[in-house]
Amino acid sequence: MGEILQYTWGAIVSFVLAFFVGITYMGLSRIVTARVQNRIGPPWYQNFFDVFKLFSKDTSIHHGIMHHMGPAFMMVTAVMSLLIIPIFNGGSFFTNLNFHGDLIFLIYIMVFGPLGMALGAGQTGNPNSAIGVTRGLSQIVGFEIPWVMALVALMIQYKTTSIVDLMNIQAETGKWLMFTSPFAFIAAVLAMLGMFRYAPFDIVGAPQELASGPMSENGGKYLFVMMSSGAVFAFAKLTLYVDIFMGGANNLIILVVKTFILYMIPVLYGIVSPRYRTEQSVRFFWGWPTLFGLLAILQAAFL
């Protein structure tokens, strides 16, 4: 009984944490962007206003049940991946629901959200959504390959499919995996650029062509769910990267610092990049990132 209670508490606390940190990061990224663009930019808590406003907006559009479910799928994905990703090193409170094989589970669950979104966007009948979703799915095909290759390399090298095991290995040897298997790290970071959908890989929701793509029919509460799931998912992904490559974190401050540094990679890269077309971005991911993924697997298999 106590165990279940602890798990529940852990889930709630980590969700709230992920929500706040994720939304704050979004606000901070807006400030960083603004400063690069010679502006002052909004306050860091701007996105809380936005999220709350979206939540309090009326929503009178209804395109069918899948349209309702689309954002929900995204939220489910975000929360589920958050729950199996351990947030801190060693501590049992935030270990959450990890199990052996959770890396493989993650690979599956992380594409579940966009797939659900695709169904939802398809039902809105808006051609912009439909085209945006097909672009999004093709882009996923692009960055999934280096990403999976990086994970497979880690699995081969350390003969485990558990995130906690990987964290323990790092804690025991004192060496971060980003140094012991650098190729996997490079491949994974390049894949991360696509995962976060900042420029140059933001063709999915490009306002200039698609009027924000899959989101174009989703306003008000739908957009609230999507924004907050995006924030939670961003935090989950960043934590995952910190866990498996950067030795995890022992307390909140280290976690925030590490994730923020990681988060700045796609943000800063996005500020100075135009966007790729879909086929160009897929070609990009199947080029150097995949090569690094292959190198990582070779390193894991033969070294």
Binding site: A34, R39, F52, K53, S60, I61, S212, M215, G219
Partner: protein, 181 residues
């Protein structure tokens, strides 16, 4: 408990505070006033400080800027766009041509007073309104939202027939879906 009058008041204050600080403009340059929007959004004036930001589709936007004169052809699209927006929504009339026709007073193709066709919350006068004027318009709208006085959308619903009659007087071929809020 939550429907209690006083708690509703508190909820309203918080809600209005959030709404006020997060105005998403629909990216629809209906007229020449749209030329002063890029300067308003960029470094010297930087409207993003006030939480003003562009939104790509009517579903996501809160604020419709009618940036100048509206031709009858445009008016039809603007009405459609306005009705697709989700409550709460606000309209800012931009420039003197939305107020009384401005220099287009004898043109056969532009409407002369915007508030006959759409509920306008704030007018910004001038032709062109300078970015400072635009910012002060935003600030005025924020004030109205905080006080709960920016009720254009509500008026539109209540007086829909009056607005519709006016709209249909100008748009001869009315082939549009009905308002579905």
């Amino acid at each position: 408990m939550i429907n209690d009058k006083n708690s509703q008041k508190i909820v309203d204050i918080i809600r209005n505070y959030a709404r006020k600080h997060s105005l998403w403009i629909l990216a629809y340059g209906t007229g020449c006033g749209a030329i002063e929007l890029p300067p308003t959004m960029t470094s010297r004036y930087d409207a993003e400080r006030l939480g003003v930001r562009g939104a790509a589709t009517p579903r996501q936007a809160d604020l419709l800027l009618i940036t100048g004169y509206l031709t009858t052809k445009s008016l039809k699209r603007v009405i459609r766009v306005y009705e697709q927006m989700q409550d709460p929504k606000y309209v800012i009339g931009f420039g003197s041509c939305t107020i009384n026709g401005g220099m287009y007073w004898d043109s056969y193709n532009t409407i002369k007073a915007l508030d006959r066709y759409l509920p306008v919350d704030v007018y910004i006068n001038g032709c062109m309104p300078r970015p400072e004027a635009v910012l002060s318009g935003f600030a005025k709208l924020q004030e109205l939202i905080q006080d709960g006085k920016a009720n254009g959308a509500k008026e539109y619903k209540e007086n829909l027939k009056w607005y519709r009659d006016n709209q249909k007087k100008v748009i001869t071929n009315w082939k549009m879906p009905e308002y579905n809020w």
